[in-house]
């Protein structure tokens, strides 16, 4: 078990290092930030001074090492726009984003999983079809379309809710619904197929053939086993708590991390983009790691397989 955890940790670390490298390579090699920030007709001395100030005149590998060292020490650079620490800029946006994504996650789990389980247990019933149809729609209607339609109906036509911005809790209703509905649909669909898969297994049939009450079969055998694949997708949802609202935040002009990212990307604000990339990757990797460990706890077979071959 120790070895299993160690391998997973090593993999997670490698992934983080790769993200850092990726960010560096893509962002540094793509263009000369000095020319983007300064206007094209800026005097050469000013550009040179800018480069020197930001370490852009050093060889790339030196920039990389420096950059890496800084990150290890927790220094993620300063925004090229307003000179503040990137990490501060990003972290002060996190609460706003979580104010949307956490309630949305609650909706996804609270609606998606029970709906999926119910649909699986009442396969081919009217409810099942309803759940599945909604689920397919939830997947195919992109969040920005859903968001705009909601705005059109509830803000423009009915005037019940504000169409964007942040202020009262009423501002959060539409974005939270937009985020939650799509995820709930995906989760319902996934849970349903995981449940169906488990319900088709011989041990379920054996248990019910032995006369175990169906309720107990479901609770004791089906649910725990169906939980295993579902954990993965829930893990992904938890991992995207910070990054998952980019589009929705843009639709509703919500001042969260996602909006910051879009603006930073448009302005080529290297430090901020890198900071967000790292933050997102770190959440994602952490939650993947937790999922993997949970998997190990839920399914001892898998623990062995993974450690054994890694294939």
């Amino acid at each position: 078990m120790l070895r299993f955890i160690a391998t997973r940790f090593a993999r997670a670390l490698v992934t983080i290092v790769m993200v850092v490298t990726f960010a560096f390579v893509v962002l540094r090699l793509s263009g000369d930030p000095a020319l983007l920030i300064m206007s094209v007709d800026a005097p050469p001395e000013a550009i040179a001074a800018f480069r020197q100030a930001w370490g852009l005149d050093e060889p790339l590998w030196q920039q990389y090492l420096k950059y890496f060292g800084a990150i290890v020490q927790g220094d993620l650079g300063r925004s090229m726009r307003d000179g503040r620490d990137a990490i501060v800029l990003v972290t002060e946006r996190i609460p706003a984003t979580l104010a949307l994504t956490l309630p949305a996650l609650a909706i996804k789990l609270g609606i998606g999983i029970p709906a999926g389980v119910y649909a699986a247990l009442h396969r081919n019933s009217l409810t099942d079809r309803l759940v599945m149809t909604t689920a397919v729609l939830g997947f195919t209607v992109p969040s920005f379309v859903l968001g705009l339609l909601l705005v059109l109906v509830f803000a423009v036509q009915l005037g019940w809710l504000p169409s964007g911005g942040q202020g009262t809790w009423r501002h959060a209703i539409l974005p939270v619904i937009t985020l939650g509905v799509g995820g709930a649909a995906v989760l319902a669909r996934f849970t349903r197929s995981a449940m169906l898969e488990v319900l088709g297994q011989p041990y379920i049939r054996t248990a019910s053939a032995k006369g175990v009450p169906w309720r107990l079969v479901v609770r004791g055998h089906a649910l725990p086993n169906a939980a295993i694949p579902t954990v993965t997708i829930v893990g992904f949802m938890v991992g995207s708590l910070i990054a998952g609202a980019v589009v929705v935040e843009s639709v509703f002009s919500w001042p969260g991390v996602g909006r910051l990212l879009v603006v930073a990307v448009a302005n080529r604000d290297l430090a901020v983009v890198q900071c967000i990339l790292l933050l997102v990757a770190a959440t994602m990797v952490t939650s993947n790691l937790v999922v993997d460990l949970l998997y190990g706890a839920l399914d001892p077979r898998l623990r062995q397989m993974r450690a054994g071959g890694a294939h």
Binding site: G244, V246, V262
Partner: protein
């Protein structure tokens, strides 16, 4: 040398029994056919050029909202015909989605084959890349790359091509390993075939159905990604137009002219829905193991 005696026979699948199409799937196929026709015939069937301005008919509503028949789906702020723009947007979005899906499948399959063939270090490298792809939401990755490399259509398509590559890589690697361990691939290898021949003429045709289904499943995702990025203003750039691009533009006129936005919105929904339905149906019929 793959152009040899009987290349056609290599891909000819054994005939399958016919079954009746579920109505929803039939509708889906019909819709996809319609979209393809629109994309191919955009110039012919568009009433106007998609950039043509009609300054006397600005923000004219569609026919069903008491508009005039000159602009069936209405016009936008500059008096451009929404229907014509929609046709060209469909063409652009489908072009991007096709290009990106094919690139993704080709790249992913190649990586999967490389991993399966060389094993060892190469395989570990590919698997690490797969892990890396899984560790970042693709939208974030795409955002970073796009904005910093500037924006050209080719780059955009290639970038979207990397979406879901890891899925093809996983599938191709798994199937190639099981094919290579025993059976036909090993048999052909001992005939003296080069690895290229083994993978191209034997393994690829044998796993093609699985890959094609994965492509159908990934296709709507690419459409959504494209429209999402274009919506954020970071995808297809004006004067070119795409479904997401139209949406992003229409958003500004949400209160005054919702039709600008509604036409592409419903096109996106119906197209992704149709392809998902057909893809799911294909998967369930041909390869139920793919979930």
């Amino acid at each position: 040398m793959s152009d040899s005696v009987l290349p056609a026979a290599a891909v000819a699948a054994p005939p399958k029994p016919r079954t009746r199409l579920p109505p929803a799937v039939a509708l889906g196929i019909a819709w996809i056919g319609l979209m393809l026709a629109v994309a191919l015939l955009a110039e012919v069937i568009s009433p106007y050029a998609y950039t043509a301005l009609d300054l006397r008919n600005r923000l004219s509503p569609p026919v069903f909202m008491d508009g005039n028949w000159a602009h069936v789906l209405g016009t936008d702020e500059l008096g451009r015909d929404v229907l014509s723009r929609l046709f060209f947007s469909i063409r652009m979005s489908l072009l991007i989605a096709f290009g990106a899906t094919i690139i993704g499948a080709a790249f992913g399959t190649t990586m999967g084959f490389l991993a399966a063939h060389f094993r060892g270090v190469v395989e570990q490298a590919v698997l690490t890349l797969v892990d890396f792809s899984a560790s970042l939401p693709f939208l974030i990755l795409a955002l970073a790359v796009l904005a910093f490399f500037g924006n050209s259509l080719m780059l955009f398509i290639v970038l979207l091509g990397f979406h879901a590559w890891e899925r093809y890589a996983r599938i191709a690697r798994g199937l190639a390993i099981s094919a290579g361990a025993q059976g036909y691939a090993a048999a052909v290898r001992q005939l003296g075939a080069t690895p290229l021949r083994v993978y191209w003429r034997h393994i690829l045709p044998n796993i093609a159905s699985t890959l094609i289904i994965s492509m159908t499943l990934a296709f709507p995702e690419v459409i959504l990604l494209e429209s999402g990025l274009s919506f954020l203003g970071l995808g297809v750039q004006p004067p070119a137009t795409s479904l997401g691009n139209m949406l992003g533009y229409g958003r500004e006129y949400l209160t005054r002219a919702p039709w600008i936005l509604l036409a592409p919105a419903f096109t996106i929904i119906l197209t992704t829905l149709a392809i998902s339905l057909v893809g799911d149906w294909l998967r369930d019929r041909v390869d139920p193991t793919l979930r």
